[in-house]
Protein backbone atom coordinates (compact mmCIF):
# COMPACT_ATOMS: atom_id res chain seq x y z
CA UNK A 1 0.00 0.00 0.00
CA UNK A 2 1.21 3.46 -0.70
CA UNK A 3 0.53 6.48 1.47
CA UNK A 4 1.02 8.96 -1.33
CA UNK A 5 0.96 8.14 -5.02
CA UNK A 6 1.59 10.69 -7.74
CA UNK A 7 0.64 9.63 -11.25
CA UNK A 8 1.89 11.54 -14.25
CA UNK A 9 1.81 14.93 -12.56
CA UNK A 10 2.47 17.78 -15.00
CA UNK A 11 2.35 21.47 -14.41
CA UNK A 12 2.81 24.31 -16.81
CA UNK A 13 2.75 28.02 -16.11
CA UNK A 14 1.75 29.38 -19.49
CA UNK A 15 4.40 28.23 -21.92
CA UNK A 16 6.77 27.15 -19.19
CA UNK A 17 6.68 23.44 -18.44
CA UNK A 18 7.60 23.22 -14.74
CA UNK A 19 6.80 19.53 -14.27
CA UNK A 20 6.37 16.84 -16.86
CA UNK A 21 4.97 13.41 -16.06
CA UNK A 22 6.19 12.95 -12.51
CA UNK A 23 5.16 9.63 -10.94
CA UNK A 24 6.22 8.87 -7.41
CA UNK A 25 5.17 6.67 -4.50
CA UNK A 26 5.77 7.10 -0.79
CA UNK A 27 5.03 4.30 1.69
CA UNK A 28 3.66 4.87 5.20
CA UNK A 29 6.46 5.74 7.61
CA UNK A 30 8.90 6.31 4.79
CA UNK A 31 11.26 9.28 4.61
CA UNK A 32 11.78 10.51 1.07
CA UNK A 33 14.57 12.93 0.25
CA UNK A 34 13.62 15.08 -2.71
CA UNK A 35 16.72 16.51 -4.36
CA UNK A 36 17.50 18.59 -7.37
CA UNK A 37 19.12 21.79 -8.49
CA UNK A 38 17.43 25.17 -8.28
CA UNK A 39 14.57 25.27 -10.77
CA UNK A 40 14.37 21.49 -11.09
CA UNK A 41 10.74 21.53 -9.98
CA UNK A 42 11.01 20.39 -6.34
CA UNK A 43 9.14 23.34 -4.91
CA UNK A 44 6.47 23.16 -7.60
CA UNK A 45 5.90 19.49 -6.84
CA UNK A 46 5.68 20.09 -3.09
CA UNK A 47 3.32 23.01 -3.59
CA UNK A 48 1.03 20.79 -5.65
CA UNK A 49 1.02 18.15 -2.90
CA UNK A 50 0.36 20.86 -0.29
CA UNK A 51 -2.54 22.24 -2.29
CA UNK A 52 -1.04 25.66 -3.04
CA UNK A 53 -2.02 25.18 -6.69
CA UNK A 54 -3.49 22.31 -8.69
CA UNK A 55 -1.57 20.20 -11.19
CA UNK A 56 -2.26 20.81 -14.89
CA UNK A 57 -2.70 17.07 -15.35
CA UNK A 58 -2.13 13.87 -13.44
CA UNK A 59 -3.52 12.43 -10.25
CA UNK A 60 -2.70 12.52 -6.55
CA UNK A 61 -3.80 9.51 -4.51
CA UNK A 62 -3.61 9.41 -0.73
CA UNK A 63 -4.10 5.95 0.79
CA UNK A 64 -5.28 4.83 -2.66
CA UNK A 65 -8.02 7.43 -2.76
CA UNK A 66 -8.00 10.01 -5.49
CA UNK A 67 -7.85 13.55 -4.16
CA UNK A 68 -8.13 17.00 -5.59
CA UNK A 69 -6.84 20.03 -3.71
CA UNK A 70 -8.02 23.53 -4.50
CA UNK A 71 -6.49 25.24 -1.49
CA UNK A 72 -4.01 24.41 1.29
CA UNK A 73 -6.85 23.71 3.70
CA UNK A 74 -8.05 20.84 1.47
CA UNK A 75 -4.64 19.23 1.71
CA UNK A 76 -4.59 19.74 5.47
CA UNK A 77 -7.94 18.01 5.85
CA UNK A 78 -6.62 15.13 3.76
CA UNK A 79 -3.70 14.77 6.20
CA UNK A 80 -0.94 16.69 4.42
CA UNK A 81 0.96 19.17 6.59
CA UNK A 82 3.86 21.37 5.54
CA UNK A 83 6.77 22.87 7.47
CA UNK A 84 7.93 25.97 5.67
CA UNK A 85 11.58 26.83 5.25
CA UNK A 86 11.24 29.96 7.41
CA UNK A 87 9.06 27.87 9.78
CA UNK A 88 6.33 30.53 9.79
CA UNK A 89 6.47 31.09 13.55
CA UNK A 90 5.50 34.17 15.52
CA UNK A 91 8.54 35.06 17.61
CA UNK A 92 6.52 37.07 20.10
CA UNK A 93 4.20 34.22 21.03
CA UNK A 94 4.83 31.18 23.21
CA UNK A 95 5.60 27.76 21.77
CA UNK A 96 2.12 26.53 22.73
CA UNK A 97 0.42 29.52 21.09
CA UNK A 98 2.39 28.89 17.90
CA UNK A 99 1.49 25.21 17.86
CA UNK A 100 -2.20 26.08 18.17
CA UNK A 101 -2.17 29.22 16.01
CA UNK A 102 -5.32 29.29 13.90
CA UNK A 103 -6.89 26.31 15.73
CA UNK A 104 -6.82 27.44 19.35
CA UNK A 105 -8.40 25.35 22.05
CA UNK A 106 -11.36 27.20 23.54
CA UNK A 107 -13.47 26.72 26.62
CA UNK A 108 -16.78 28.16 27.76
CA UNK A 109 -16.90 30.84 30.41
CA UNK A 110 -20.52 31.69 30.96
CA UNK A 111 -21.77 33.14 27.68
CA UNK A 112 -18.21 33.71 26.41
CA UNK A 113 -15.70 31.49 24.70
CA UNK A 114 -12.17 32.05 25.89
CA UNK A 115 -8.76 30.65 25.03
CA UNK A 116 -7.95 27.51 26.96
CA UNK A 117 -4.31 28.14 27.83
CA UNK A 118 -3.96 25.20 30.28
CA UNK A 119 -5.10 22.68 27.66
CA UNK A 120 -2.92 24.22 24.94
CA UNK A 121 0.14 24.27 27.19
CA UNK A 122 -0.45 20.70 28.29
CA UNK A 123 -0.98 19.34 24.80
CA UNK A 124 1.98 21.27 23.39
CA UNK A 125 4.20 20.01 26.21
CA UNK A 126 2.97 16.50 25.42
CA UNK A 127 3.89 16.87 21.74
CA UNK A 128 7.37 18.15 22.63
CA UNK A 129 7.79 15.18 24.92
CA UNK A 130 6.83 12.81 22.11
CA UNK A 131 9.40 14.53 19.92
CA UNK A 132 11.89 14.25 22.81
CA UNK A 133 12.64 17.91 22.42
CA UNK A 134 13.67 20.13 25.31
CA UNK A 135 11.18 22.79 24.35
CA UNK A 136 9.05 24.51 26.97
CA UNK A 137 5.48 25.09 25.91
CA UNK A 138 5.28 28.37 27.83
CA UNK A 139 8.50 29.89 26.49
CA UNK A 140 8.47 32.65 23.92
CA UNK A 141 9.80 31.45 20.56
CA UNK A 142 12.11 34.47 20.26
CA UNK A 143 14.45 33.00 22.85
CA UNK A 144 14.64 29.53 21.28
CA UNK A 145 17.40 27.77 19.38
CA UNK A 146 17.01 26.72 15.75
CA UNK A 147 16.37 23.12 16.78
CA UNK A 148 13.67 24.12 19.26
CA UNK A 149 12.01 26.29 16.62
CA UNK A 150 11.92 23.31 14.27
CA UNK A 151 10.36 21.28 17.07
CA UNK A 152 7.65 23.93 17.44
CA UNK A 153 6.98 23.94 13.70
CA UNK A 154 6.88 20.14 13.59
CA UNK A 155 4.70 19.89 16.70
CA UNK A 156 2.25 22.14 14.89
CA UNK A 157 1.91 19.59 12.09
CA UNK A 158 1.34 16.77 14.63
CA UNK A 159 -1.66 18.52 16.10
CA UNK A 160 -3.88 17.19 13.34
CA UNK A 161 -2.48 13.62 13.26
CA UNK A 162 -1.13 14.02 9.73
CA UNK A 163 -0.38 11.27 7.22
CA UNK A 164 2.25 13.12 5.27
CA UNK A 165 4.57 15.91 6.42
CA UNK A 166 6.40 17.98 3.82
CA UNK A 167 9.52 19.78 4.94
CA UNK A 168 11.17 22.53 2.93
CA UNK A 169 14.90 22.77 3.63
CA UNK A 170 14.60 21.84 7.32
CA UNK A 171 18.34 21.84 7.89
CA UNK A 172 19.37 24.95 6.00
CA UNK A 173 20.93 27.75 8.05
CA UNK A 174 21.18 25.99 11.40
CA UNK A 175 24.19 24.78 13.38
CA UNK A 176 25.64 21.27 13.15
CA UNK A 177 24.36 20.27 16.56
CA UNK A 178 20.89 21.52 15.70
CA UNK A 179 20.93 19.59 12.41
CA UNK A 180 21.35 16.38 14.42
CA UNK A 181 18.41 17.48 16.57
CA UNK A 182 16.22 18.11 13.53
CA UNK A 183 17.13 14.78 11.92
CA UNK A 184 16.10 13.12 15.18
CA UNK A 185 12.77 14.92 15.00
CA UNK A 186 12.25 13.58 11.49
CA UNK A 187 12.99 10.04 12.69
CA UNK A 188 10.38 10.48 15.44
CA UNK A 189 7.80 11.37 12.79
CA UNK A 190 8.74 8.30 10.81
CA UNK A 191 8.45 6.12 13.93
CA UNK A 192 4.87 7.30 14.27
CA UNK A 193 4.10 6.00 10.79
CA UNK A 194 4.04 9.42 9.20
CA UNK A 195 5.50 9.72 5.72
CA UNK A 196 7.98 12.57 5.43
CA UNK A 197 9.14 14.29 2.28
CA UNK A 198 12.20 16.46 2.75
CA UNK A 199 13.41 18.94 0.20
CA UNK A 200 17.07 19.56 0.83
CA UNK A 201 20.29 20.62 -0.79
CA UNK A 202 22.39 19.08 1.94
CA UNK A 203 23.58 15.69 0.78
CA UNK A 204 24.78 14.36 4.19
CA UNK A 205 21.48 15.20 5.88
CA UNK A 206 19.44 13.47 3.21
CA UNK A 207 21.65 10.40 3.30
CA UNK A 208 21.49 10.47 7.08
CA UNK A 209 17.75 10.29 7.39
CA UNK A 210 16.04 9.38 4.10
CA UNK A 211 14.96 5.82 3.25
CA UNK A 212 14.64 6.69 -0.39
CA UNK A 213 15.98 9.46 -2.56
CA UNK A 214 14.18 11.02 -5.48
CA UNK A 215 16.10 13.26 -7.85
CA UNK A 216 14.52 15.81 -10.15
CA UNK A 217 16.07 17.53 -13.10
CA UNK A 218 14.39 20.08 -15.36
CA UNK A 219 10.86 19.11 -14.35
CA UNK A 220 11.36 15.36 -14.65
CA UNK A 221 11.91 12.70 -12.06
CA UNK A 222 15.20 11.07 -13.07
CA UNK A 223 15.64 8.69 -10.15
CA UNK A 224 13.82 7.25 -7.16
CA UNK A 225 15.81 4.62 -5.35
CA UNK A 226 16.61 3.29 -1.89
CA UNK A 227 19.27 5.31 -0.09
CA UNK A 228 21.24 2.16 0.61
CA UNK A 229 21.69 1.42 -3.10
CA UNK A 230 22.83 4.92 -3.98
CA UNK A 231 25.75 7.16 -3.16
CA UNK A 232 26.33 10.91 -2.89
CA UNK A 233 28.43 10.72 -6.05
CA UNK A 234 25.61 9.12 -8.00
CA UNK A 235 23.07 11.64 -6.72
CA UNK A 236 25.35 14.53 -7.61
CA UNK A 237 25.68 13.09 -11.10
CA UNK A 238 21.91 12.75 -11.38
CA UNK A 239 21.33 16.30 -10.21
CA UNK A 240 23.80 17.83 -12.64
CA UNK A 241 22.89 15.57 -15.53
CA UNK A 242 26.25 13.80 -15.71
CA UNK A 243 24.26 10.62 -15.11
CA UNK A 244 21.16 10.54 -17.30
CA UNK A 245 18.88 8.46 -15.06
CA UNK A 246 18.97 5.70 -12.48
Amino acid sequence: MSRLKLENISKNFGAIQALSGVSLEVAPGEVLGLMGDNGAGKSTLVKIIAGNFPASSGEIRIDDRSTHFNKPLDAQTAGVEIVYQDLALCNNLTAASNVFLGREAMRRFGPFRMLDYPTMNRRAADLFKQLKSETRARDVVRRMSGGQRQAVAIARTLLSEPKIVLMDEPTAAISVRQVAEVLDLIRRLRDRGISVIIISHRMPDVFGVADRIAVMRRGRLVASKATATSSPEEVTGLITGAIEAA
Partner: protein, 329 residues
Protein backbone atom coordinates in the same frame (compact mmCIF):
# COMPACT_ATOMS: atom_id res chain seq x y z
CA UNK B 1 14.09 14.66 43.30
CA UNK B 2 13.34 16.61 40.14
CA UNK B 3 13.06 14.74 36.88
CA UNK B 4 14.20 16.11 33.55
CA UNK B 5 10.59 16.86 32.63
CA UNK B 6 10.20 19.05 35.68
CA UNK B 7 13.29 20.96 34.70
CA UNK B 8 12.04 21.42 31.16
CA UNK B 9 8.60 22.43 32.41
CA UNK B 10 9.94 25.03 34.80
CA UNK B 11 9.83 28.59 33.57
CA UNK B 12 13.04 30.51 33.29
CA UNK B 13 12.29 33.25 35.77
CA UNK B 14 12.72 32.05 39.29
CA UNK B 15 13.12 35.00 41.61
CA UNK B 16 10.26 37.38 42.25
CA UNK B 17 12.45 40.32 41.24
CA UNK B 18 13.36 38.77 37.89
CA UNK B 19 9.71 38.03 37.27
CA UNK B 20 8.66 41.56 38.17
CA UNK B 21 11.25 43.28 36.04
CA UNK B 22 10.35 41.09 33.08
CA UNK B 23 6.86 42.61 33.05
CA UNK B 24 7.16 45.31 30.36
CA UNK B 25 5.20 47.95 32.26
CA UNK B 26 7.13 47.45 35.51
CA UNK B 27 9.54 50.31 34.85
CA UNK B 28 6.74 52.63 33.77
CA UNK B 29 4.89 51.95 37.02
CA UNK B 30 8.10 52.51 38.95
CA UNK B 31 8.81 55.80 37.17
CA UNK B 32 5.25 57.03 37.74
CA UNK B 33 5.41 56.06 41.43
CA UNK B 34 8.77 57.75 41.95
CA UNK B 35 7.50 60.90 40.24
CA UNK B 36 4.35 60.94 42.37
CA UNK B 37 6.23 60.39 45.64
CA UNK B 38 8.83 63.01 44.75
CA UNK B 39 6.11 65.53 43.88
CA UNK B 40 4.20 64.83 47.06
CA UNK B 41 7.34 65.59 49.06
CA UNK B 42 8.55 68.51 46.95
CA UNK B 43 5.29 70.39 46.55
CA UNK B 44 2.27 70.81 48.75
CA UNK B 45 -0.01 71.20 45.75
CA UNK B 46 0.42 67.83 44.01
CA UNK B 47 -1.34 65.55 46.47
CA UNK B 48 -4.38 67.77 46.76
CA UNK B 49 -7.70 66.35 45.71
CA UNK B 50 -8.22 69.12 43.20
CA UNK B 51 -4.92 68.58 41.45
CA UNK B 52 -5.24 64.81 41.34
CA UNK B 53 -8.74 65.24 39.91
CA UNK B 54 -7.30 67.41 37.15
CA UNK B 55 -4.50 64.97 36.40
CA UNK B 56 -7.03 62.18 36.20
CA UNK B 57 -9.31 64.03 33.83
CA UNK B 58 -6.55 65.36 31.61
CA UNK B 59 -4.86 62.04 30.97
CA UNK B 60 -8.08 60.11 30.44
CA UNK B 61 -8.71 61.22 26.87
CA UNK B 62 -5.23 60.42 25.63
CA UNK B 63 -5.33 57.13 27.55
CA UNK B 64 -8.60 55.97 25.96
CA UNK B 65 -7.23 56.42 22.44
CA UNK B 66 -3.85 55.00 23.50
CA UNK B 67 -5.64 51.70 24.18
CA UNK B 68 -6.90 51.62 20.60
CA UNK B 69 -3.52 52.76 19.30
CA UNK B 70 -1.77 50.01 21.26
CA UNK B 71 -3.86 47.37 19.53
CA UNK B 72 -3.00 48.87 16.14
CA UNK B 73 0.69 49.09 17.00
CA UNK B 74 0.73 45.55 18.43
CA UNK B 75 -0.61 44.34 15.08
CA UNK B 76 2.31 46.02 13.35
CA UNK B 77 0.43 49.09 12.11
CA UNK B 78 0.01 52.74 13.01
CA UNK B 79 -3.03 55.01 13.04
CA UNK B 80 -2.27 58.70 12.54
CA UNK B 81 -5.90 59.62 11.92
CA UNK B 82 -7.18 59.34 15.52
CA UNK B 83 -6.97 63.08 16.29
CA UNK B 84 -9.07 63.88 13.22
CA UNK B 85 -11.47 61.07 14.02
CA UNK B 86 -11.98 62.71 17.43
CA UNK B 87 -13.06 66.00 15.85
CA UNK B 88 -15.21 64.29 13.22
CA UNK B 89 -17.05 62.33 15.90
CA UNK B 90 -17.43 65.46 18.05
CA UNK B 91 -18.77 67.47 15.09
CA UNK B 92 -21.28 64.85 13.98
CA UNK B 93 -22.50 64.71 17.57
CA UNK B 94 -22.71 68.48 17.99
CA UNK B 95 -24.31 69.27 14.66
CA UNK B 96 -26.99 66.62 15.19
CA UNK B 97 -27.68 67.63 18.79
CA UNK B 98 -27.88 71.31 17.84
CA UNK B 99 -30.33 70.26 15.16
CA UNK B 100 -32.61 68.92 17.89
CA UNK B 101 -31.76 65.23 17.82
CA UNK B 102 -31.45 63.28 21.06
CA UNK B 103 -28.08 62.50 22.58
CA UNK B 104 -28.50 58.77 22.01
CA UNK B 105 -29.14 59.18 18.31
CA UNK B 106 -26.35 61.72 17.85
CA UNK B 107 -23.88 59.57 19.78
CA UNK B 108 -24.66 56.52 17.66
CA UNK B 109 -24.24 58.60 14.51
CA UNK B 110 -20.94 60.00 15.82
CA UNK B 111 -19.60 56.50 16.58
CA UNK B 112 -20.78 55.30 13.18
CA UNK B 113 -18.85 58.12 11.51
CA UNK B 114 -15.75 57.20 13.52
CA UNK B 115 -16.12 53.50 12.68
CA UNK B 116 -16.49 54.42 9.01
CA UNK B 117 -13.12 56.18 9.13
CA UNK B 118 -11.62 53.06 10.75
CA UNK B 119 -13.20 50.75 8.21
CA UNK B 120 -11.92 52.93 5.38
CA UNK B 121 -8.38 52.88 6.84
CA UNK B 122 -8.52 49.14 7.45
CA UNK B 123 -9.92 48.29 4.02
CA UNK B 124 -7.22 50.23 2.18
CA UNK B 125 -4.47 48.80 4.39
CA UNK B 126 -5.68 45.19 4.35
CA UNK B 127 -7.22 44.73 0.91
CA UNK B 128 -5.29 47.27 -1.16
CA UNK B 129 -2.05 46.51 0.69
CA UNK B 130 -1.23 50.16 1.25
CA UNK B 131 1.13 51.21 4.05
CA UNK B 132 -0.78 52.20 7.23
CA UNK B 133 1.33 55.33 7.64
CA UNK B 134 0.26 56.73 4.29
CA UNK B 135 -3.40 55.70 4.47
CA UNK B 136 -3.94 57.14 7.94
CA UNK B 137 -1.98 60.27 7.02
CA UNK B 138 -4.56 60.71 4.27
CA UNK B 139 -7.51 60.26 6.61
CA UNK B 140 -5.79 62.50 9.16
CA UNK B 141 -6.21 65.26 6.62
CA UNK B 142 -9.53 64.13 5.19
CA UNK B 143 -11.49 63.52 8.39
CA UNK B 144 -10.68 66.95 9.86
CA UNK B 145 -11.63 68.59 6.59
CA UNK B 146 -14.93 66.72 6.71
CA UNK B 147 -15.53 68.05 10.22
CA UNK B 148 -14.93 71.60 8.94
CA UNK B 149 -17.36 71.14 6.09
CA UNK B 150 -19.95 69.70 8.46
CA UNK B 151 -19.77 72.57 10.94
CA UNK B 152 -18.95 75.32 8.46
CA UNK B 153 -15.88 75.76 10.71
CA UNK B 154 -17.98 77.40 13.43
CA UNK B 155 -17.74 76.86 17.15
CA UNK B 156 -20.70 74.96 18.58
CA UNK B 157 -21.63 75.43 22.23
CA UNK B 158 -25.33 74.73 22.32
CA UNK B 159 -26.44 71.14 22.08
CA UNK B 160 -30.22 71.19 21.88
CA UNK B 161 -32.58 69.38 24.24
CA UNK B 162 -29.97 66.98 25.72
CA UNK B 163 -27.46 69.75 26.37
CA UNK B 164 -27.21 69.09 30.10
CA UNK B 165 -26.97 65.33 29.71
CA UNK B 166 -23.97 65.71 27.41
CA UNK B 167 -22.22 68.12 29.78
CA UNK B 168 -22.92 65.83 32.72
CA UNK B 169 -21.57 62.83 30.84
CA UNK B 170 -18.31 64.45 29.81
CA UNK B 171 -17.74 66.98 32.56
CA UNK B 172 -19.49 65.62 35.62
CA UNK B 173 -18.15 63.33 38.28
CA UNK B 174 -19.43 60.54 40.49
CA UNK B 175 -17.81 59.37 43.73
CA UNK B 176 -15.14 62.01 43.21
CA UNK B 177 -14.06 60.57 39.87
CA UNK B 178 -14.65 62.33 36.54
CA UNK B 179 -16.99 60.37 34.27
CA UNK B 180 -14.53 59.87 31.40
CA UNK B 181 -12.35 57.98 33.89
CA UNK B 182 -15.10 55.38 34.27
CA UNK B 183 -15.21 54.99 30.50
CA UNK B 184 -11.44 54.58 30.49
CA UNK B 185 -11.51 51.95 33.24
CA UNK B 186 -14.24 50.01 31.48
CA UNK B 187 -12.43 50.13 28.15
CA UNK B 188 -9.05 49.20 29.66
CA UNK B 189 -10.52 46.15 31.40
CA UNK B 190 -12.49 45.06 28.34
CA UNK B 191 -9.51 45.50 26.01
CA UNK B 192 -7.18 43.62 28.37
CA UNK B 193 -9.58 40.69 28.60
CA UNK B 194 -10.17 40.62 24.85
CA UNK B 195 -6.48 40.72 23.99
CA UNK B 196 -5.60 38.02 26.47
CA UNK B 197 -8.50 35.60 26.23
CA UNK B 198 -9.98 35.72 22.75
CA UNK B 199 -8.84 34.52 19.34
CA UNK B 200 -9.17 38.08 18.07
CA UNK B 201 -6.65 39.22 20.69
CA UNK B 202 -4.30 36.34 20.00
CA UNK B 203 -4.38 37.14 16.27
CA UNK B 204 -3.55 40.82 16.91
CA UNK B 205 -0.23 39.71 18.36
CA UNK B 206 0.24 36.95 15.76
CA UNK B 207 -0.18 39.42 12.89
CA UNK B 208 2.19 41.86 14.57
CA UNK B 209 4.72 39.09 15.20
CA UNK B 210 4.74 37.48 11.75
CA UNK B 211 2.03 38.45 9.34
CA UNK B 212 3.08 35.88 6.74
CA UNK B 213 2.87 33.08 9.32
CA UNK B 214 -0.55 34.28 10.38
CA UNK B 215 -1.73 34.10 6.76
CA UNK B 216 -0.23 30.62 6.28
CA UNK B 217 -2.02 29.26 9.36
CA UNK B 218 -5.31 30.28 7.82
CA UNK B 219 -6.11 33.30 9.99
CA UNK B 220 -8.40 35.77 8.20
CA UNK B 221 -5.72 38.46 8.42
CA UNK B 222 -7.39 40.98 6.12
CA UNK B 223 -10.71 40.96 7.91
CA UNK B 224 -8.94 41.12 11.25
CA UNK B 225 -6.95 44.19 10.18
CA UNK B 226 -10.12 46.05 9.24
CA UNK B 227 -11.58 45.37 12.70
CA UNK B 228 -8.33 46.47 14.36
CA UNK B 229 -8.45 49.90 12.69
CA UNK B 230 -12.15 50.12 13.46
CA UNK B 231 -11.36 49.50 17.11
CA UNK B 232 -8.87 52.36 17.28
CA UNK B 233 -11.34 54.63 15.47
CA UNK B 234 -13.99 53.54 17.98
CA UNK B 235 -11.83 54.68 20.91
CA UNK B 236 -11.32 58.00 19.09
CA UNK B 237 -15.07 58.30 18.54
CA UNK B 238 -15.83 57.72 22.23
CA UNK B 239 -13.22 60.32 23.13
CA UNK B 240 -14.78 62.84 20.73
CA UNK B 241 -18.14 62.49 22.48
CA UNK B 242 -16.68 62.72 26.01
CA UNK B 243 -14.43 65.66 25.12
CA UNK B 244 -17.38 67.58 23.73
CA UNK B 245 -19.21 67.15 27.02
CA UNK B 246 -16.15 68.07 29.02
CA UNK B 247 -15.32 71.24 27.09
CA UNK B 248 -18.92 72.29 26.57
CA UNK B 249 -18.01 73.56 23.12
CA UNK B 250 -16.43 72.22 19.96
CA UNK B 251 -14.17 73.86 17.41
CA UNK B 252 -12.56 72.20 14.45
CA UNK B 253 -9.12 72.24 16.04
CA UNK B 254 -10.23 69.74 18.70
CA UNK B 255 -7.81 66.83 18.93
CA UNK B 256 -5.22 68.51 16.74
CA UNK B 257 -1.89 66.64 16.89
CA UNK B 258 -3.41 64.41 19.56
CA UNK B 259 -2.16 61.36 17.62
CA UNK B 260 1.38 62.24 18.66
CA UNK B 261 0.56 62.28 22.38
CA UNK B 262 -1.35 59.03 21.92
CA UNK B 263 1.50 57.27 20.11
CA UNK B 264 3.93 58.57 22.73
CA UNK B 265 1.75 57.14 25.51
CA UNK B 266 1.49 53.78 23.77
CA UNK B 267 5.23 53.59 23.15
CA UNK B 268 6.16 54.61 26.69
CA UNK B 269 3.69 51.97 27.84
CA UNK B 270 5.63 49.26 26.03
CA UNK B 271 3.98 49.05 22.61
CA UNK B 272 6.58 48.02 20.04
CA UNK B 273 6.35 49.89 16.73
CA UNK B 274 7.77 46.81 15.01
CA UNK B 275 4.62 44.98 16.12
CA UNK B 276 3.81 42.08 18.39
CA UNK B 277 3.95 43.84 21.74
CA UNK B 278 1.84 46.21 23.80
CA UNK B 279 -0.81 46.06 26.49
CA UNK B 280 -3.79 48.29 27.36
CA UNK B 281 -2.49 48.64 30.92
CA UNK B 282 0.83 49.87 29.55
CA UNK B 283 -0.94 52.39 27.32
CA UNK B 284 -2.91 53.78 30.26
CA UNK B 285 0.19 54.00 32.42
CA UNK B 286 2.13 55.62 29.59
CA UNK B 287 -0.54 58.29 29.25
CA UNK B 288 -0.61 58.76 33.03
CA UNK B 289 3.16 59.14 33.18
CA UNK B 290 3.12 61.83 30.49
CA UNK B 291 0.43 63.75 32.36
CA UNK B 292 2.29 63.43 35.68
CA UNK B 293 5.43 64.82 34.06
CA UNK B 294 3.46 67.68 32.53
CA UNK B 295 1.71 68.40 35.80
CA UNK B 296 4.91 68.26 37.82
CA UNK B 297 6.67 70.75 35.56
CA UNK B 298 3.84 73.19 36.09
CA UNK B 299 3.78 72.67 39.86
CA UNK B 300 7.55 72.97 40.13
CA UNK B 301 7.35 76.27 38.31
CA UNK B 302 9.41 75.15 35.33
CA UNK B 303 8.59 77.01 32.13
CA UNK B 304 6.01 75.14 30.02
CA UNK B 305 8.36 75.61 27.07
CA UNK B 306 10.38 72.75 28.55
CA UNK B 307 7.48 70.30 28.52
CA UNK B 308 8.17 69.02 25.03
CA UNK B 309 11.80 68.39 25.90
CA UNK B 310 10.94 66.34 28.98
CA UNK B 311 8.28 64.26 27.26
CA UNK B 312 10.50 63.77 24.22
CA UNK B 313 13.34 62.60 26.42
CA UNK B 314 11.02 60.19 28.14
CA UNK B 315 9.87 58.63 24.87
CA UNK B 316 13.44 58.07 23.75
CA UNK B 317 14.54 56.76 27.15
CA UNK B 318 11.57 54.38 27.27
CA UNK B 319 12.40 52.90 23.87
CA UNK B 320 16.13 52.78 24.62
CA UNK B 321 15.32 50.97 27.84
CA UNK B 322 13.23 48.46 25.98
CA UNK B 323 16.02 47.76 23.52
CA UNK B 324 18.48 47.35 26.35
CA UNK B 325 16.15 44.91 28.08
CA UNK B 326 15.67 42.84 24.93
CA UNK B 327 19.36 42.86 24.09
CA UNK B 328 20.17 41.21 27.42
CA UNK B 329 17.75 38.31 27.06
Amino acid sequence: MTSLDDLIGRTEHNSLFARLTSVPVFWVILAALVACIALTLLTDTFATQRNLFNVLRNFTFVAIIAIGMTVVIASGGIDLSVGSTVVLSAMVLSVLMTGGWSFAFAAIAALTAALAVGAFNGALIAYAGMPPFVVTLGTLSGARSLAMVLSDNKMIWEFGPDHNLLLWLGGGSTLGLPHPTFALALLAIAASLILRWTRWGQYVYAIGGNEQAAILTGIAVKRQKVTIYMFSAFTAGITGILMTGWLGSVTTNLGQSMELAVIAAAVIGGANLAGGEGTPLGAVLGALLIEVIRNSLILLGISTFWQGMFIGTFIIVAVAFDRFRNART
